[in-house]
């Protein structure tokens, strides 16, 4: 079956450092991948997405890398700030609407 998982459940970084959150997915037919950020008591918030015909996409302070060969997705956050502290989820879709989420990684930013 489909599964999207995360290598590390908790990540602690120093303010100003770069953060890298990793994700492995199992469905080789997935064609759309998304990263979400969820703060306590709130719904997930879209960060960045990437389609399967790309291997890198950059946003403001964030970069998503996709390696389809090993079915790996990563989110890089540059110059991590205290406001980045949250749980981060990767998710994928295969040719449609059904979105499968991973278990999440909690990011702690130390001041």
């Amino acid at each position: 079956g489909e599964s999207v998982g995360l290598h590390l459940p908790t990540l602690s970084v120093q303010e100003g450092d770069n953060s890298i959150i990793n994700c492995a997915y199992s469905n080789s037919a997935s064609d759309y991948f998304i990263w979400y950020k969820q703060e306590s008591g709130k719904g997930p918030q879209f960060i960045i997405d990437i389609r399967s015909n790309m291997d890198k996409r950059q946003g403001q302070r964030v970069t998503v890398l996709l390696n389809k060969t090993v079915k790996h997705l990563s989110l890089q956050i540059a110059a991590t700030q205290p406001g980045d502290s949250a749980v981060y989820f990767c998710a994928d879709q295969e040719g449609g609407f059904k979105t499968i989420f991973g278990a999440g990684t909690r990011l702690f930013v130390k001041a």
Partner: protein, 114 residues
Amino acid sequence: GAGVSQSPSNKVTEKGKDVELRCDPISGHTALYWYRQSLGQGLEFLIYFQGNSAPDKSGLPSDRFSAERTGGSVSTLTIQRTQQEDSAVYLCASSLQGASNEQFFGPGTRLTVL
């Protein structure tokens, strides 16, 4: 503009009772999704609507769960004969067109079944 809203924000019910959860998507969004999030867990896909139709109901945990959407807007998720394992946060999201489009999430309804 208004985002996705959900009501109630919290619901406490007794085992065996029925509950209805409501989602108001962003105006103009044709796709609507329901997810369930247990404490400390990721999101579990339940169902999605494209317009008023639900092409994929495979995520609904049991036949006690049902959902409908009327007028291409408001959706309700109904859980009949609630069980303690139904306790979770139920999240709704909407997107402009659906597939491969950003989903905007509501704040969720926290359901507690005693």
